[in-house]
């Protein structure tokens, strides 16, 4: 049973971690806390729902479940579409809202407030289009696999695997590639990055695409393992920020580790105290880390 808590925590933590990487990336390049990031998660989930539904109508065979999983080929294909659409949405929000505010050289707090406004608008839009009724990618119930005393659905294990691959790929991108170098340089000193030949506006676009793409993946996982609701992003907001700050703002592996810690803490709390305390866990972690080590586990103390 205790191992079960760990598995549940890791699965929840992987989803939080993927979202938190986006938060940490936007923060380190654009220097503001984007409270609309949760909405990218929700929009990613709904984009995938819409595209897979459309594919299912177009070619019903795509909706037949693949092997042990609950979904058919329509979902992985829709996931690619959802990543692209969510990235486009993030670029659109930046072009309409954050970009003009940055150009005016406004204070950080204005960007943060704008992100609150964007979150509200995006969430209401989802509710308007899809109603607030929960939705699911697949109808059927999935039978959990048993490993000794531990149960896990094939979907959950797949999500863990995908999260692991995505994080390794992100780590490689940031540590080893020219884009990653330019991102790290821009994060440390944007003016000097410009002098070194980096096109800052291009880096900003890349960061939105990466952050929104990861958010879409996280959203699809939540949709697959829990359910799809317009408020799913809002519910994840506090865990996202707790994970990003715990991992050290700017550190992608830190954000994932932070996510896993928050996820584990949540699942342990739910088991020991009760499900109604789940939401409080991220808040407690957030306050504790801000008081004890604001630079996070991986961040550099200023």
């Amino acid at each position: 049973m205790s191992l079960q808590v760990v598995i549940d925590g890791l699965v929840a933590g992987a989803m939080i971690g993927l979202g938190a990487i986006g938060v940490t990336l936007t923060y380190s390049i654009l220097r503001f806390a984007n409270f609309a990031h949760g909405e990218f998660i929700a929009w990613g989930a709904y984009f995938a729902l819409a595209v897979s539904g459309f594919l299912g109508v177009l070619a019903p065979s795509l909706a037949t479940p693949i092997g042990p999983f609950s979904f058919g080929w329509s979902l992985p294909i829709a996931a690619l579409g959802a990543i692209a659409l969510t990235a486009a949405l993030a670029l659109l929000v930046d072009a309409l809202l954050f970009g003009p505010l940055r150009a005016k050289g406004g204070a950080i707090i204005i960007l943060v407030m704008a992100s609150f406004g964007a979150a509200l608008t995006l969430r209401n839009l989802l509710e308007f289009i899809f109603t607030s009724r929960p939705a699911y990618y697949a109808e059927g119930l999935q039978i959990a696999l048993r490993f000794g005393g531990v149960r896990a659905t094939p979907d959950a294990l797949l999500c863990l695997g995908v999260a692991a691959i995505v994080v390794v790929a992100m780590r490689f991108l940031i540590a080893k590639t020219a884009i990653g170098r330019a991102m790290r340089a821009t994060s440390e000193n944007p003016q000097l990055a410009g002098l070194a030949g980096v096109d800052i506006r291009k880096i900003v676009r890349i960061v939105w695409i990466l952050g929104a793409g990861l958010a879409a993946i996280a959203g699809i996982m939540v949709g697959l393992l829990v359910q799809i609701r317009p408020t799913m992003g809002l519910d994840l907001l506090l865990p996202l920020f707790a994970a990003a700050i715990l991992g050290g703002i700017g550190s992608a592996p830190g954000a994932l580790l932070g996510g896993l810690i928050v996820g584990l803490a949540e699942s342990i709390t739910v088991r020991l105290i009760g499900a109604e305390w789940r939401a409080a866990v991220a808040f407690v972690i957030l306050v504790a880390i801000l008081l004890l080590r604001p630079s996070g586990l991986f961040g550099r103390p200023e």
Binding site: A178, R181, A182, R184, A185, E188, N189, Q191, L192, A193, G194, L195, A196, G197, V198, D199, I200, R201, R300
Partner: protein, 243 residues
Amino acid sequence: MTAQALETRALVAGYERDLPIVRGVDLNVRAGEFVVLLGPNGAGKSTLVKAIAGLVPIHAGAVLINGEDSTFSPPHQKIRRGLAFVPQTENVFATLTIEENLRLAADILPNNVRARRIDELYAMFPDLAARPGRRAGQLSGGQRQMLAAARALIVAPSLLILDEPSAGLSPKIAAEVFARLQAINATGVTIVLVEQNVKAALAVASRAVILVEGEARHEGSAAELADDPIVAELYLGAAKAGA
């Protein structure tokens, strides 16, 4: 008409819209020249060169780099037009390694010359080649200036602007910096150097411009200015008042 490496026309620039720091500066630097920009503390030397590089908002006037209007070009475009700029402070990426600092700058070069250029810069600055995996934040002041210069030179700029590269260095290392700049200039690279170290700068430069309160007040060959008691008086007096 000889080619102008750098030209500013009635340049007005400053950090805030209603507070011009550079107030109508006309600079003309011919290709191959070595010009030193002098002036008391707070005269606006750094602001002027940062505005030229695209880091400080330009309110009026124009900046031409190698004859091309670059007044409102972002820094990454100016770099592609042959400009390299080494700022006064924070001129290396402290969280990146030496190698990464150089590779970042080399990324704008064609694929097949990057590695060769990095090797050439390592040959020029053997100190850097010794431990390429070291984070720039751990380097000494002199090594940092070397890395900053190497970073700027890697793209083989035609115009190199440096803001007080000798600041904080020992006289011996500072002398080495000046000698290197002279050698770089001898290869045909135009240099604009901001300096507090008047004597050493006038010894290596061909021409000097003195900036006071955001305006270019005096201009002349390095030899003329070195011997001009009035200019020395004004410059040193103002420097004292500013300090």
